[in-house]
C-alpha cells in the first residue's frame, strides 16, 4: 500500500481501492459461508418452520430434536464406526507403505531408483476408472466382497503405496540434509534405523499432510464403498446418508442435522491442523 502512496497517485485512490477490497472479501466470505450457515439453521428448524412462507432466515426457537432424529433415522453411530474401520487402516497403511517407498527414492543410492521414481510419476496420472473393473473382479475371485472378511478391498490396497503420497513424501525427504543420515551411517546405524529414528521424526509436517488427506479422502469416499458394500449393516456414513436421502428426500431437518454431524470431524481436524495442512497442499501443487 505504501508503495502506491509514494508513487504519487491521487490521494483518494488508496482508500477507494481499500473499500473495494473489503467489499470483495465480504462478498466472497458470504458466498462460502452462507450455504454452511443454511445447513445449521435448517438443522434447528421444526418441520412447520421449514416450509414457512415467506421463508424465515432464523429458526423460530431451537428445534433440537432433529439431532437425535438424525442418529436414529439411520444407524448413525454404527455407520460412523464402519467408516472408521475403513479410514483408520487406510491412514496407517498409507503412512507406512508410502514413507518406506519414499525413503528408498530419496535416501538410498541404488541403481534403478531413477526408473522407479519415473514409475511413481507416470502412475500418478492413471485414472482410477481404468483399474476399477479388474480390481473388482480380482477381489471377487479372492472372496473378499461382502463376507465376514471385513473391509479388505477397501483397506488392503492402502498398505501397498499410493503414487501421489510417495511423491509428496519423497519431495520432503529429499529436502532434508543428507549429512544427518550420513553421520548416523558412520556411527553404524542401519538404513531401517535411519528411516525410523531420523527421517520420520524430521518429516512430521509431510506425514501429517499425508495422514489428513488420506483420512479426508476415505472418510468422505463414496465410489469405492458403493461398489464393494451391499449389506446395509456394513454401510459407511456416505452410503447410509445417500440411502436415506433418496428415500426420504423431504425430511430436511434431520438430513441437515446428519450433514452437520458428518462434517464436524473433518472441520475440527482441519481447524486444528490447518497450518501444516495448507503448507502440505501448497507444496504439492507448486512442485507438481
Amino acid at each position: 500500500m505504501s508503495a502506491r502512496a509514494k508513487s504519487g497517485r491521487i490521494v483518494w485512490y488508496p482508500p477507494l481501492r481499500r473499500a473495494f477490497t473489503y467489499l470483495g472479501v465480504a462478498i466472497v466470505v458470504a458466498i462460502f459461508l452462507i450455504p454452511f450457515l443454511w445447513m445449521i439453521v435448517t438443522s434447528l428448524k421444526s418441520p412447520d418452520d421449514l416450509i414457512a412462507h415467506p421463508l424465515s432466515w432464523l429458526p423460530q426457537g431451537l428445534y433440537l430434536k432433529n439431532y437425535p432424529d438424525a442418529l436414529s433415522i439411520i444407524p448413525y453411530m454404527q455407520y460412523l464406526g464402519n467408516t472408521m474401520l475403513i479410514s483408520v487402516p487406510n491412514v496407517l497403511g498409507t503412512l507406512i507403505s508410502c514413507s518406506l517407498a519414499a525413503y528408498s527414492l530419496a535416501c538410498v543410492r541404488w541403481p534403478g531408483r531413477g526408473i522407479s521414481f519415473g514409475l511413481v510419476l507416470s502412475t500418478m496420472m492413471l485414472p482410477y476408472p481404468v483399474t476399477i473393473i479388474p480390481l473388482y473382479l480380482v477381489f471377487r475371485h479372492l472372496g473378499w466382497i461382502d463376507l465376514a472378511s471385513g473391509y479388505l478391498p477397501l483397506t488392503v490396497p492402502a498398505f501397498f503405496g499410493a503414487p501421489f503420497f510417495i511423491f509428496l513424501l519423497r519431495q520432503f525427504f529429499a529436502s532434508i540434509p543428507m549429512e544427518l543420515s550420513e553421520a548416523a551411517k558412520v556411527d553404524g546405524a542401519s538404513e531401517l534405523r535411519i528411516y525410523a529414528q531420523i527421517m520420520l521424526p524430521l518429516s512430521r509436517p509431510a506425514l501429517a499432510t499425508t495422514a489428513l488427506l488420506t483420512f479426508l479422502y476415505t472418510y468422505t469416499d463414496f465410489l469405492n464403498p458403493l461398489i464393494y458394500i451391499s449389506d446395509p449393516d456394513r454401510f459407511t456414513l456416505s452410503l447410509g446418508l445417500l440411502g436415506y436421502f433418496s428415500q426420504h428426500g423431504a425430511s430436511w431437518g434431520p438430513l441437515m442435522a446428519a450433514a452437520a454431524m458428518f462434517t464436524v470431524p473433518t472441520a475440527v481436524l482441519f481447524l486444528f491442523t490447518q497450518r501444516t495442512f495448507i503448507q502440505g497442499i501448497a507444496t504439492s501443487g507448486i512442485k507438481g
Partner: protein, 319 residues
C-alpha cells in the same frame, strides 16, 4: 530425477560390487510394498481392462473375444453420445462430461484465482477469512451435494428466496435440465478451496520488488496483474487446469447423489464415470465398461498433452 540417475551411471560393471548389490537389496526392500502394489493394483488391472475391452464379459460367463465391437457399439449408444443436436448431445455421458470440462474448469480456475487475490490482501482478520473460504473444500462431496439440493430447492431454498426478494426470475435449478449442470458447476466453485490455496501460496511467493518496479514506472493494478502476477503464477494455473480437467473427466459423486444412476433430470446429469459404473455394476457388462474406461484414459492423456503443449506459449518459469 537428476539425483536418481547418478547411482546407475557410476555403477555399470559386468559384476556388481558387493556394495552396489547391498544398495539394490536395500532400495528394493524399502520399495517392496509399493512394487507389489504397483503390479497388483495398477499394472495388472490396467492390462486386464485393456483385454476385457475387446471381449464380451458378463461377469457370470468367462470373457469371449469380440474384437472392436464394444468400441463400435459405444458410438451408436445414445446414453454414451448423441450427435443429432446440441440438446441431445447434452443428454449423453460424453456431452455432459465435456460441458463440465469446457465450461466448469476455466470458470473454477478463474474463480479460485480471484478469491486467492482477495485473500492475499491485508484486510483485518484475513487468517479467519481464509479458513472460512477453505472450509467447504473439506466437506464430503456427497454431503455437499445433498446440501446443494436444499440450498437450490426451487420452493423452499435460500437462493430462490433471495432472488424473489430482489424480484428476479427463479429457475428450477437442479430440477431443470438446462440449469442442472450450471448448478453443479456452482457447487464446484463452492468447493474450490484446494486450487485457491495453491494460488494463494504462489501469490505470497511473488517478490514485492517487482510490484514496486511497476509502480515506479507508473503502472497501476491492471499492469501489475498483466505483467507480474499472471506470468509468475502461470505454472500454478497450468497445474490447476490439468488437475481440474482430470477431475472433471472423472466427475461422479456429486452427479450420482443428485441425479442418480440415470442422471435426472432427463439425462442432463449423466456423466462418463456414472455410465461406467452403471454398465459395469448394474448391467454387468464388464467388457463394455472396460472399453469406456480405456477411452477415458486416452482422453485424459490427450487433453493433458494438449494443455502441456499449449502451455509453452503462456507459462513462465524462473531461471
Amino acid at each position: 530425477m537428476a539425483r536418481g540417475v547418478d547411482g546407475g551411471a557410476t555403477a555399470r560393471p559386468r559384476r556388481l560390487s558387493p556394495f552396489t548389490r547391498r544398495a539394490i537389496v536395500t532400495g528394493v526392500l524399502f520399495q517392496l510394498p509399493w512394487l507389489i502394489g504397483f503390479v497388483a493394483f495398477l499394472l495388472y488391472p490396467a492390462l486386464a481392462s485393456f483385454y476385457y475391452s475387446f471381449t464380451h464379459y458378463s461377469l457370470f460367463k468367462s470373457p469371449h473375444w469380440i474384437g472392436l465391437d464394444n468400441y463400435r457399439n459405444l458410438f451408436s449408444d445414445q446414453f454414451f453420445i448423441q450427435y443429432d443436436s446440441l440438446d441431445h448431445f447434452l443428454q449423453s455421458a460424453v456431452g455432459n462430461t465435456l460441458y463440465i470440462m469446457v465450461i466448469g474448469v476455466p470458470v473454477s480456475t478463474v474463480f479460485a484465482f480471484v478469491v486467492a487475490m482477495l485473500l492475499n490482501t491485508d484486510v483485518k482478520g484475513i487468517a479467519l477469512w481464509r479458513t472460512l473460504c477453505f472450509l467447504p473444500a473439506v466437506m464430503s462431496p456427497l454431503v455437499a451435494s445433498i446440501l446443494w439440493v436444499w440450498v437450490f430447492n426451487p420452493q423452499f431454498g435460500i437462493v430462490n428466496a433471495f432472488l424473489s426478494f430482489l424480484h428476479l426470475p427463479q429457475p428450477g435449478w437442479l430440477n431443470d435440465p438446462t440449469w442442472a449442470k450450471p448448478t453443479l458447476i456452482l457447487l464446484n466453485l463452492w468447493q474450490v478451496g484446494f486450487s485457491m490455496i495453491i494460488y494463494l501460496a504462489a501469490l505470497q511467493g511473488v517478490p514485492r520488488e517487482l510490484y514496486e518496479a511497476v509502480a515506479i514506472d507508473g503502472g497501476g493494478f491492471w499492469q501489475r496483474l498483466r505483467y507480474i502476477t499472471l506470468p509468475l503464477v502461470s505454472p500454478v494455473t497450468l497445474f490447476n487446469l490439468i488437475t481440474g480437467v482430470i477431475a472433471a473427466l472423472q466427475f461422479f459423486t456429486q452427479a450420482y447423489t443428485i441425479g442418480g444412476a440415470s442422471g435426472n433430470p432427463q439425462s442432463s446429469l449423466l456423466f462418463y464415470v456414472t455410465y461406467i459404473y452403471t454398465s459395469a455394476f448394474q448391467n454387468f457388462d464388464m467388457g463394455y465398461a472396460s472399453a469406456m474406461s480405456w477411452l477415458l484414459f486416452v482422453a485424459i492423456a490427450l487433453f493433458t498433452a494438449i494443455l502441456l503443449l499449449a502451455s509453452r506459449r503462456w507459462t513462465y518459469y524462473e531461471r
